[in-house]
Amino acid sequence: MHQSSKDNSGFSTKPAIVVDNLTVSYGPVPALLDVSFEVPAGQLIGIIGPNGSGKSTLIKAILGFLKPDFGSVHLFGEPADRAKGRVAYVPQRGSVDWDFPVSVQEVVLMGRYGHVPWWKDLDQLDRQLADDALDMVRMSDYGKRQIGELSGGQQQRVFMARAMAQGADILLLDEPFAGVDAATEHAILDVLEQTKQAGKTLLVVHHDLTTAAEYFDSLILLKQRLYAFGSPEAVLHRQLLSEVYEGSLRIFADLSPTTKNS
């Protein structure tokens, strides 16, 4: 994939995401309270936690949409709200209007919009970058299709390609595995792995605790506060989970990261 010069500048030594004492509130009860963690570049990280635990607030904070009550988010050393374009957001499949009159190619091209001033047209390089991104997720043959005509896994790949075309170094994915079948789930996971190989940092909101260990390098366990951050073995601790999920969690027979075939 082509990279413009500003994409591979000297930031690589800095951690991709640094969250410092982040507190965000919408009312008297903070949605996030004193959350701190540091994500090194090139990792595939899962964010887990019960409903309403602040996962999407954290995503918004990293996207630079929120003004924190206290604390900060830095991306490669820059404050989040000034690092627009370094982060790409991959929306939840349910939130996309799949009937929208737009082709696969046009969606991926949207990734370039942030790089082109409003009075200028997209140029040949932008189209090339979009084509390369489509190629990378092996969707080149589908460029002319309307997005609703794709399977679930293909749809996810298109949005991954858009994030790649954006030239972002950090990808935020909102429940990419929600409502897809097993085969699609594996196809998506392949794309995530591949994106990681390309040196991107991926932060994935995830619901399914049974697969969390298998899919991610590290996990963030969130419920208003940061309960745990680290390797799946350390985070998926029975006691920790029952504390966070307060018994709303049906006990899983085996959460340890071993096999997928039972």
Binding site: G85, P101, Y113, R162
Partner: protein
């Protein structure tokens, strides 16, 4: 022919008709372009609200200029008034929906009726001062448009086209994915207000043509028609004005031919009929196309039956005649299914008939495994012998990987079905390098032990050992494995499940 030509040309000789045609056409162009975005953003109701709110704006503008400066029907003031009314309505709507639990559609309903009603009061209280007909305002007065109106409509049209051409990308991305748009720095709220301002302008331009009540018909009906025939935004933004212009031209002629029919309603009725026709015949998203597509669908079960039949037949190439004769389904369906299987690259055709491709072979084997496991399961739960095959035949179509793996595990990974035929191994998981449970291994497989589940400290197999699977014993209930030293060990299902291995070699490879 001559009559037809006369009928087309005759109305054009009237200056009113000419002006009406120009004004309505320009207005329809502006409406179609903006309407496309309104449709995609589901803002149709807001468009309706803005058109009604205009009444208050127009009367205020009229009164303001008349009372302060003595101008009658000062057009710029009325337009500015209309825009201000639109702005007030939109702000009031977002205020109410943001600060209270009232949802946006309700807020729209409350605020626009309120402002519309205020306009009605103003217009009736000062009815002696205002010399515009409310009725014209409601259903339009396209045959009485003045030059001032035409200039206004033309300016709106040009302005709106410029905005859409300049900000097409911004409008597209904020409509399609506002979160992503915001994350790359597009001012989402700003674009929304820009579009709302354009909508107000367009509405102002369309009111003389079709009237307040029917503006939405010109704004969204052509755009919705365009939405039915295209799947590109660019095409839609061009098709919608084309449809709109067609509507106004046909509507104006019809009302002129019939006589004594208000042109505004005629235009909107033509648009609605056009929409309904397209709803039926649109090539891709129309009802007929949809019905036809569904008719063309081949039942999945039939596709699988044909794969099963060809596998059972055993020949490299099976003549189509044999398939038609043996598979119990209407011939045209079977033919279509065979074509569909070729399209999906499961079958390929040569002179002799059809045969499997590699993927087809794989799929057929998967179905066979599903069928035989279901048969074994049915016997296991006590289904009478005579029903085994037929019931399994129905159930084999439930063959997703999880289901089949569940059956396999529950039945203790059987090697044979009730008729004594071999059940294919779990060839989807059994690929070299895969991490699997040792219970999946069949005779001849070589694997390296990765881990043994906790709680099995005395397990006869240790980590890192290389094992080779031997034949099963005790009716398949005991697994045998050969250890590196040549020792043979026996494991039951549970003990074999406790061992996770990495497959190194399959007997074939």
């Amino acid at each position: 022919m001559q009559h037809l030509l006369d009928a087309l040309i005759e109305p054009l000789t009237g200056i009113h008709f000419q002006k009406a045609l120009i004004g309505a056409t320009l207005s329809a162009i502006a409406c179609g372009v903006i309407g496309s975005f309104i449709v995609l953003r589901r803002m149709a109701f807001l468009g309706d609200a803005l058109s009604h709110a205009m009444l208050a704006g127009v009367t205020s503008g009229y009164l303001f200029m008349q009372m302060l400066f003595g101008y009658e029907a000062h057009a710029p003031a009325m337009i500015i008034g209309a825009l201000l009314a639109g702005l007030v309505t939109v702000s009031a709507i977002s205020f109410v929906s943001q600060v209270s639990r009232i949802k946006e559609d309700t807020a729209i309903g409350i605020m626009y009726t309120g402002i519309f009603a205020l306009g009605g009061i103003l217009a009736s209280v000062f009815s002696d001062r205002i010399h515009i007909h409310l009725f014209d305002f409601i259903v339009g007065m396209v045959l009485a448009v003045e030059d001032g109106h035409l200039w206004m409509i033309a300016s709106v049209c040009v302005l709106v086209l410029c905005v859409v051409i300049l900000f097409f990308r911004q409008l597209q991305i904020t409509t399609f994915d506002p979160i992503m748009a915001a994350s790359i720095g597009v001012p989402v709220v700003g674009v929304h207000y820009l579009l709302t301002a354009c909508t107000s302008l367009v509405v102002v331009s369309a009111v003389p043509v079709v009237g307040v009540v029917l503006v939405v018909g010109l704004l969204i009906t052509p755009a919705a028609s365009a939405y039915l025939v295209t799947n590109r935004l660019r095409t839609m933004v061009i098709a919608a004005p084309v449809f709109g212009v067609f509507n106004v031209v046909v509507g104006l002629y019809l009302s002129s031919w019939i006589g004594n029919v208000a042109p505004g309603p005629m235009i909107v009725v033509v648009g609605t009929i056009q929409f309904l026709i397209l709803l039926c015949i649109a090539p891709r998203y129309g009802l007929i196309a949809d019905w036809w597509r569904r008719r063309q669908l081949v039942p999945q079960a039939l596709l699988e039956d044909i794969l099963g039949f060809i596998r059972h037949d055993g020949r490299q190439q099976v003549p189509l005649q044999d398939i038609l004769a043996q598979v119990k389904s209407p011939q045209h369906l079977v033919r279509r299914a065979v074509r569909e299987l070729q399209r999906q690259h499961f079958l390929k055709e040569d002179g002799q008939g059809v045969g499997f491709t590699e993927v087809g072979q794989h799929e057929a084997r998967r179905l066979l495994r599903s069928h035989r496991l279901w048969e074994t399961y049915l016997q296991h739960v006590g289904t009478p012998e005579a029903e085994l095959h037929l019931t399994a035949h129905q159930l084999e179509h439930l063959h997703d990987e999880n289901t089949v793996d569940y059956l396999d595990d529950k039945l203790g990974h059987p090697l044979q079905d009730p008729h004594g035929s071999e059940i294919p191994e779990d060839f989807i998981d059994l690929v070299p390098g895969a991490r699997i449970k040792a219970s999946l291994l069949r005779q001849g497989h070589q694997a390296t032990v990765i881990s043994v589940s906790s709680g099995w400290e005395d397990h006869p197999i240790q980590k890192e050992t290389q094992i080779t699977a031997g034949p099963r014993r005790d009716e398949g209930k005991l697994w045998t494995f050969v250890l590196p030293g040549g020792n043979l060990i026996e494991l039951d299902h549970e003990a074999a499940d406790a061992v996770t291995v990495r497959l190194d070699n399959t007997p074939e490879s």
